[in-house]
Symmetry: C2
Subunit: 298 residues, 2 copies
């Protein structure tokens, strides 16, 4: 079966936007109601997912890493473009499974495919998605708009990405493996709360601590984090185990700053933006040293 046939059979059903014109053309008309934002993420086999990860979960992860960026800005996922660079010898069943995973999460998050490209490669499977989002507020909630005194909150749990990768590589806990392969992320309800209440927001992809530092620095603040408050995949009294999870990355939870006292349903309060520089950490009521590596640095 040719690439054209694969596209017809598997990819065309992902199209629900009129502007895509059924992918019969080289371009799509973008839906542009309200303020539209856009993100782009690439996943490479062997770097962002493992060779033996099932293709269906790879497809779901591709959607989720992009959706996570959009939700964190207080916006609803909207329309997507998809580039697939497939390795030589790739078979129809793998392609079908990848698209099945993408389709499942497109439906879950209300996304329509509107375009993309499919090419062959001598290298590993490479997937790039461009995703638009429709803002619930007047614009995206930026990471640079926090203020001294704002409380810091996280959605979901921290550490699953890291614990799950270890489990996937080492043959560990299946539930953790699953959460590495298909990150649990929020939905439009979460995005609405962010749009209404958050002063600053970003998704946590490289590690909680490095992303706290980024948000606070962008906002011209410092940050203090109470490690005992961080909702962990593997709760622990040991500082090492806590820090491992807080610097491991691949969480796709959301970190927000919000004015003191604001109720943030679905979020856990973990700290505060301060007028100091950099990061300070508390653990069991004491200040502890900030680790040298705060997360994944690109």
């Amino acid at each position: 079966m040719s690439e054209t046939e694969w596209i017809k059979r598997y990819i065309a059903p992902l199209v629900t936007s009129e502007g895509a014109d059924g992918l019969r053309d080289d371009v799509a008309i973008l839906s542009t109601d309200g303020v539209v934002i856009v993100s782009m993420d690439t996943l490479i086999e062997g770097v962002h997912f493992l060779e033996n990860d099932p293709m269906e979960t790879v497809g779901r992860k591709l959607v989720r890493v992009n959706v996570s960026d959009i939700l964190a800005k207080g916006a609803a996922p909207y329309e997507a473009l998809l580039s697939i660079a497939w390795p030589r010898g790739w078979v129809e069943a793998e392609f079908a499974a990848l698209i099945r995973g993408i389709a499942r999460d497109f439906e879950a998050f209300g996304i329509s495919l509107i375009g993309g490209d499919t090419v062959g490669t001598e290298g590993p499977l490479s997937l790039t998605m461009t995703l638009t989002g429709q803002c619930f507020g007047d614009g995206p909630v930026r990471r640079a708009s926090g203020s001294v005194g704002d409380w810091l909150w996280v959605s979901g749990e921290i550490g699953w990405g890291h614990m799950g990768l270890e489990a996937a590589v080492g043959g560990g806990d299946a539930a953790a493996v699953k959460r590495y392969r298909v990150p649990v992320i929020g939905n439009n309800d979460l995005a609405k709360i962010i749009a209404v209440k958050a002063s600053a927001s970003m998704d946590i992809s490289d590690g909680l601590l490095i992303d706290v530092l980024r948000l606070s620095q962008a906002s011209g603040c410092g940050a203090e984090i109470d490690l005992d408050r961080v909702p962990l995949a593997q709760p622990s009294d040991g500082l090492d185990v806590v820090l491992e999870q807080c610097t491991g990355g691949d969480d796709y939870a959301v970190l927000v700053a919000a004015p003191q006292g604001a109720a943030m349903p679905g979020f856990t309060r973990i700290g505060v933006l301060t007028d100091k520089t950099g990061l300070s950490l508390r653990h069991k009521g004491k200040n502890v040293n900030v680790p040298v590596t705060l997360g994944f640095e690109h």
Copy 2:
């Protein structure tokens, strides 16, 4: 130098849209004045460009294959997202040259970078660009909207991509190599003419004949092409040499249909949409057989 430093130094200067917020965030606000269209193209080393192609021309080609799609729809290039998957051991000078090429053509075509992703790969260099376009008319000129009797026209010359690839691989004519590496494409003036005059339009990327067939089939017509009229990179009396260029692909010229008699400055008339099925070809006043391979089939 870290990825973050490379991005600051080389990529940040490509940002001219306010909505990109200087790439300081995970998302950009899309500019949405008028009707906005979008395309996405991926180029892979060893597939879409050669290993020894200079990085600056690779960057320019990446921009041009995307711009070609947008211009062909009667729209002006607008905002871009860029994903770079770079191979291990890639050095700063190569990265800088790639971005220099992209920057040069972003400036030439008035494009602002608004986002993207940079990742490492064990495989070949892989580049994906998402490009938006602002329509000059009420919407994009589709490939499916031609009518029986419309004349068919092409912009530029056909065959450079094919001749240039042969020259690049075989050590041939430098001018042809250059046109393979940096396709000569139109500009906004061409797009305006398309928006105002064309009934159907598409860019020619897989070969003139296959793309003529696609446009005519999408429009519910057949097509007759007078091969003597086709403006060729290497004009020839020999049918084989003519057909080689008309099926070689990588032209990035524009194929349009327009009502009979419409003046199409910058275009060459090559044929007509008919009420028959499929393609018919004339050469030196006689009907000739349609070749088995009309171009590159995905």
